[in-house]
């Protein structure tokens, strides 16, 4: 076994344990904490898999923003999860087991390429063209087409520029929706008279909320 494989196995085992913990715990605050650990672990796995940019995103989004958003949601809801009905849980269990079994079965297919195989469609189809257009090839002093040193950035910002634009619009919309939903609570609290005894403070807070 190579170095990466051993580290991957250990990290994936811990990932599975964390997932079981998230599924078993009923305290939603603890679940939030464990989901932070989950994203730390998956980001480490991305680093071992050499996907440094994905790991960066996972670090910022998974461990940072998602934790804050989940905590903001906890303010609006209960801190304890209630168990669903027995039939609901059984149905969910069947779906999960069937899906997991199907995914596991798919990996057993002999037509599936091996992990890191250079002859997969992903490696032979467009990737060589992207590399040729981006990285200066050997001795030829031909100018590269795109002029961005990082290949991943080239793909994201140039070849799939419109795709990235669409993704950004989606994330922007989702962000606005989340802010509106979480902002509801503060606005409602300001409107209820019992919570804010002095009208003066109320006005201050309203002024603060404007900027």
């Amino acid at each position: 076994m190579t170095v990466e494989e051993i580290i991957n196995i250990v990290l994936l085992t811990m990932l599975a344990l964390t997932a079981v913990g998230i599924a078993r715990l009923r305290n939603l605050f603890a679940v939030t904490m464990l989901s932070g650990i989950y994203s730390l672990l998956s980001a480490s796995i991305f680093v071992v898999l050499d996907a440094v940019d994905v790991a960066f995103t996972e670090a910022a989004v998974g461990a940072g923003i998602t934790t804050v958003l989940l905590l903001g949601t906890l303010m609006l809801t209960d801190r304890e999860a209630r168990d669903g009905s027995r039939a609901n849980r059984a149905g969910a269990m069947i779906v999960v087991v069937a899906l997991g079994g199907a995914l596991f079965y798919a990996t057993l297919d002999p037509m599936m390429p091996r992990f890191g195989d250079p002859r997969t469609p992903a490696q032979t189809h467009v990737a060589p063209q992207y590399l040729k257009d981006t990285v200066p090839q050997g001795s030829s002093k031909e100018p590269v087409k795109v002029g961005i040193p990082n290949v991943v950035t080239t793909v994201l910002a140039s070849y799939r520029g419109y795709d990235t634009l669409g993704e950004t619009v989606v994330i922007f919309t989702a962000g606005i929706a989340v802010l509106l939903l979480l902002g509801q609570r503060r606005r409602r609290r300001r409107d209820t008279p019992g919570q804010n005894p002095s009208g003066n403070k109320d006005a201050d807070r309203a002024a603060g909320a404007e900027d």
Partner: protein
Amino acid sequence: MEIVNHILFYASWALLAAGGLLCVIGAFGLVRFPETYTRMHAAGVIDTGGALLILAGLMLQSGLTLETVKLALIMFFLLFTSPTAGYALARGTWSAGHRPITHTRSDARTDGHSDSAGMTDDG
């Protein structure tokens, strides 16, 4: 020069091994100690001893390069953030009503967790 390289190699090896050992010791304390304050003490072993020794060992490995600067920055941040986070955590624990265990070990077995009963969940 040869001998200096040898010395650096063994020094970095020793630092890395000691750092790894301190990480395990700290994490072991994190699991074994009876309540939050003592566990915080164990976590401090990871944050200071473990982190600093491992980062120093890696610094000796990379020599005078950009990597050493990055490692020094990580060390610098950790030296500032871990005590601050530890203080904030201890303060939060205290103001939530938890009090440290102040009696001996034989007593702690019988009523060590009584003061944290209000905050426990179904773990």
